[in-house]
């Protein structure tokens, strides 16, 4: 079980807190089970072994006990909870000898885009990081609300458009872990997963080099990625436009760009070839993109990769 068989310090601490809580609660739970069995054995009509006392309805010391003991346990749990929540706050950096690897995460419809600001590379549906360094994630989305979760490494956190959330994770050693979105966001939801790969320092350097050799993520390709679709294969890019993360976030701040007043925060327009539908409107104009119906029409995937087309369920069943 990934959440029990943990692969990182965060997951491990979370899990231990769960076990402590279970242990403390057993103090109340086990007596309940014993008492239930005992009551049935002693006072079942027909074969009673206990005295019938129909008027017995109060006992001061029992009342004190049944209020007192659960209250004490909750106090104890509360202490663990308070400390644990502060110690394991997804926002607070993890103690480590080397500084964490910064990664910016953008949730897109049914894929995850990772930007590495130090390395100036980007990847989609694959997160590679050195196993001996924690990762410091900043998250947002350019779509629906999502929740970023790598079960074996620990805590999940929501990613929301126009907002930035933070998450710190680390792995105990090399390994590839399944990561995914856990917040339902449409028909491609089940397939929005990625590989989180904790690798050695050399392998990470090799990955960065390999990515550097690739083409950078263009604004046009980004706009295609942002459309609802599922990628068959992860992608790697040797760069990305400007402070892309911030720009995606700014897009959702207050102003609705219009054709006559384009969003100043929109991506640089070097390779701007107009919106995907070819209407020629400026990039990122929120209004122009026709509403995407996730149920009624086929959702095509654009781009060079063999993006799969998600059939609107319905067609498949109509045969």
């Amino acid at each position: 079980m990934p959440l029990i068989d943990t692969a990182g310090p965060v997951a491990e601490a979370n899990r231990d807190l769960m076990f402590i809580a279970l242990g403390l609660m057993a103090v109340v739970v086990i007596p309940v089970f014993i008492l239930t069995a005992l009551v049935l054995l002693r006072y079942r009509a027909g074969h009673e072994h206990g005295k019938y006392r129909p008027e017995w309805n109060f006992s001061g010391w029992l009342e004190a006990l049944i209020w007192g003991i659960p209250a004490l346990i909750i106090v104890a749990l509360g202490v663990f909870l308070w400390n644990g929540t502060h110690r394991l706050d997804p926002y607070s950096p993890l103690p480590a000898s080397s500084p964490p690897l910064e990664v910016q995460v953008i949730g897109l419809d049914w894929k995850w885009l990772f930007l590495y600001p130090e390395q100036q590379i980007a990847s989609v549906d694959r997160l590679v990081f050195p196993a001996d360094r924690p990762i410091a994630l900043s998250l947002t989305t350019d779509a629906n609300m999502m929740s970023f979760f790598i079960p074996r490494l620990g805590s999940q956190i929501y990613a929301m458009a126009g907002m930035e959330t933070k998450l710190h994770l680390a792995a105990d050693g090399n390994g590839t872990f399944l990561g995914r979105n856990t917040q339902f966001n449409g028909i491609g939801f089940s397939r929005q997963h990625f590989d989180a790969m904790a690798v050695g320092e050399d392998d990470f350097a090799a990955f960065v080099d390999k990515a550097k050799a690739r083409e950078p993520l263009s604004s046009a390709r980004y706009r295609q990625l942002a459309l609802p679709s599922v990628l068959e294969e992860p992608e790697i890019y040797g760069g990305y436009p400007g402070d892309h993360f911030r720009q995606v976030m700014m897009k959702y701040k207050n102003e609705v760009p219009t054709p006559d007043r384009p969003d100043e925060n929109a991506l640089s327009t070097e390779d701007d070839i107009g919106s995907v539908d070819g209407s020629g409107h400026p990039a990122f104009s929120v209004e122009e993109e026709a509403p995407v119906d996730r149920g009624d029409g086929p959702i095509t995937v654009s781009g060079p990769q063999k993006g799969r087309k998600i059939e609107p369920d319905v067609e498949e069943a109509s045969e």
């Binding site: 959440l3 309940v32 006392r53 309805n57 049944i66 644990g84 449409g186 089940s190 207050n254 998600i310």
Partner: protein
């Protein structure tokens, strides 16, 4: 803008075989029921004595009928989802359901179970029982009561219409934007969801107002608050929660409707909207709602355990205070539903602790029930079996609830099947078992005959074993990191557990089947199961002091209460003297006449919701106008009551006397 708004032939369910079959089942069933009623020409009878009656007992029963019809549908949907997931291994198109259909299923399943199964069950039971327990002739606002019922039915009708015309939402029962905004869900599904919730939500708010007033103002002389049966206490707290918790839901869905219909930006991602406002509003309703669902069951268990242990309730005062603590605390915890939205550690820890605190009064209740049995003479009847299963199962659910209240644990299991297991673990024993126990317990009061024990026990064992087999695997899957709402998955290790869960669902299905058989057998054998005494369980509270079924006016003479468990002590002390059979000793009783406001409001309300869903503006204006004019028109009706003559009351008293002497009337 066209005459029929968005409505076109595309709205018919020809897009999928399964959806088409479902639609046909609904249509055929509706025609069949209408046909049978027409064949026997029962329309006038149903209209006059059921649809338009303001008798709280019949209103209660109609709520429960709605709940069971919806339970059947919601269960079939659960079955379909379990079957899909059992075969859903494989990334592409595994299983037999397309994603869009699956997504509709979990949305309707959740919406139905919460709003159209659990809520009508408890509204129904409260309606039937509370006035009888407090010695009242009726509720405070009988017509409002009828209107609430029909608004709930209107919501239910709309849910059924969505199966035939158009599609339902795919955004889950909580309807989180931005997914449910127009840009991401342009179809009519979310609108169906909004209007179904809106109609039933207004009905529930009115129910809350009605029952707070009833319990506060209509108690029989001598029935002080601390002499009330515990079911009345939990009903009072439930009704208070309804008043305070439902409005945030109505506001949240209303604002979402403004976003969708009028281009507002309350919850959109742009133009200043913020989805977190929705999360706050929704869970400000959603968490107290959990206690709306559970508190009435706590009341049922208190009554059942005390009666079938033949013993006074242990720690009555504790139970009352614990109930009130829970009701108040339920408003202080909503943020635990989004610990993972990135709140600060201080905020998360605070709300985590507030949530855990609720475990204390809940634990107290569990121990008080066990101590009630201690020193009793426990009769293991069906309601008692449900109570025992509840105690054991609910404690496990409570444990998982405390785990979810610990933010770092929640960071791991939020949005996974662990959560799904947890809330089913609370709501099945905590609401369904409670309501089943209550229905078994009060059924003879409502009908004059008991439910068949043998089939009741069979249903019980299937339900309980099915529950464990269906939901324990979900805890494990949650710990394996499986998110909820997945139509397909690629982790092989999950499949075995999902198959186990599907088998559990089959067992629950057998439990439901046994219940319907039980109902059939009981009606068939009603002679054998008849109860003439009005007090088949050796009850303790006032409702057992009158005939079964009770007359329309409940009490021939308003009882005077001198202590808790009044009826039990009257029996103990032989104070249940014969009633007078002389009409001169009685006063005529006024009861409300039938009113067509209820069913017409329900039908026009359904049409209004339908018109809004499909943007048929002329119909929306027309029906909206009718709704308003009906409300105004009603104010001019003068002749609202009808007197029950003293001879009828005396005759009824005579029947009661005969029953007490053991003579068959």
């Amino acid at each position: 803008m066209t005459l029929l708004g968005k409505l076109s032939w595309d709205a018919l369910p020809f897009y999928s075989v399964i959806a088409f079959i479902a639609a046909m089942v609904v249509v055929v069933a509706a025609l069949l029921i209408a046909g049978i009623i027409t064949w026997y020409w029962k329309w006038p009878y149903l209209w006059k004595h059921w649809f338009t009656t303001q008798d709280h007992k019949k209103i209660g029963m109609m709520y429960i009928i709605l709940a069971f019809a919806m339970l059947a549908r919601a269960f079939i949907e659960a079955m379909m989802m379990r079957a899909q997931q059992a075969f859903g291994l494989g990334a592409e198109s595994a299983g037999y359901l397309p994603p869009e259909h699956f997504n509709q299923l979990f949305t309707t399943h959740g919406t139905l179970m919460i709003f159209f199964v659990a809520m009508p069950l408890l509204s129904g039971l409260i309606n039937f029982v509370v006035p009888l327990q407090i010695g009242a002739r009726d509720v405070a606002f009988p017509l409002v009561n009828l209107v609430s019922l029909w608004l709930t039915w209107a919501g239910g009708f709309l849910m059924m219409v969505s199966l035939v015309i158009g599609r339902f939402a795919t955004g889950g029962w909580s309807g989180y934007p931005p997914f449910t905004e127009l840009s991401l869900s342009p179809g009519v599904g979310v609108d169906y969801w909004i209007w179904a919730l809106m109609l039933s939500g207004i009905g529930t708010t009115l129910t809350g107002i009605n029952f707070v007033t009833t319990i506060w103002k209509m108690r029989a002389p001598g029935m002080t608050l601390m002499r009330m049966p515990l079911f009345c206490w939990t009903s009072l707290c439930t009704a208070l929660l309804m008043i305070y918790a439902l409005p945030p839901l109505t506001v949240a869905t209303g604002l979402l409707a403004l976003d969708r219909y009028a281009g507002f930006h309350f919850f959109t991602n742009d133009a200043g909207g913020n989805v977190m406002h929705y999360a706050n509003l929704f869970w400000l309703f959603g968490h107290p709602e959990v206690y709306i669902l559970i508190l009435p069951a706590f009341g049922v268990f208190s009554e059942v355990i005390s009666t079938f242990s033949g013993k006074k309730l242990f720690g009555y005062t504790s139970l009352v205070y614990a109930t009130m603590c829970i009701a108040v605390l339920s408003f202080t915890v909503w943020l635990h539903h989004f610990f993972t939205m990135g709140g600060t550690a201080d905020v998360n820890a605070f709300f985590g602790i507030m949530t855990m605190v609720i475990a204390v009064p809940t634990g107290v209740k569990i121990f008080d029930w066990l101590l009630t049995m201690w020193g009793g003479r426990i009769r293991l009847t069906v309601p008692m079996l449900y109570s025992l299963a509840f105690i054991v199962t609910f404690v496990l659910g409570g444990v998982s609830g405390v785990l979810l209240a610990i933010p770092p644990v929640d960071y791991m299991v939020h949005n996974t099947l662990f959560l799904v297991a947890h809330f089913h673990n609370m709501l099945i024993p905590g609401t369904l078992f409670g309501m089943f126990a209550g229905i078994h317990y009060w059924f003879p009061k409502a009908t004059g005959f008991r439910l068949d024990e043998k089939w009741g026990r069979r249903a019980f064992w299937f339900w309980v074993s099915g529950f464990y087999v269906a939901f324990m695997p979900l805890y494990i899957l949650g710990l394996m990191g499986m998110p909820r709402r997945m139509v397909t998955y690629e982790v092989e290790a999950w499949q075995a557990w999902l198959i186990a869960a599907a088998i559990g669902a089959i067992l629950i299905g057998l439990g439901i089947a046994c219940m319907f058989i039980m109902l059939y057998v009981s009606i068939r054998d009603r002679g054998r199961l008849q109860d003439v005494t009005g007090d088949p369980w050796d009850g303790r509270t006032l409702e057992w002091s009158i005939t079964s079924p009770p007359p329309e006016w409940n009490f021939d003479e308003v009882p005077v209460v001198t202590r808790r468990d009044e009826w039990w002590y009257r029996k103990q002390n032989g104070e249940m003297q014969q009633k007078s059979e002389d009409p001169g000793d009685y006063e005529p009783i006024d009861v409300p006449k039938w009113s067509l406001i209820g069913p017409s409001l329900g039908m026009v309300g359904t049409a209004f919701g339908f018109a809004m869903v499909w943007h048929v503006w002329w119909l929306a204006i027309l029906t909206g106008g009718i709704l308003v004019s009906m409300m105004i028109g009603r104010a001019f009706v003068k002749d609202r009551e009808r007197a029950i003559h003293t001879e009828i009351i005396a005759q009824h008293a005579r029947l009661w006397n005969m029953a007490q002497r053991g003579e068959h009337p």
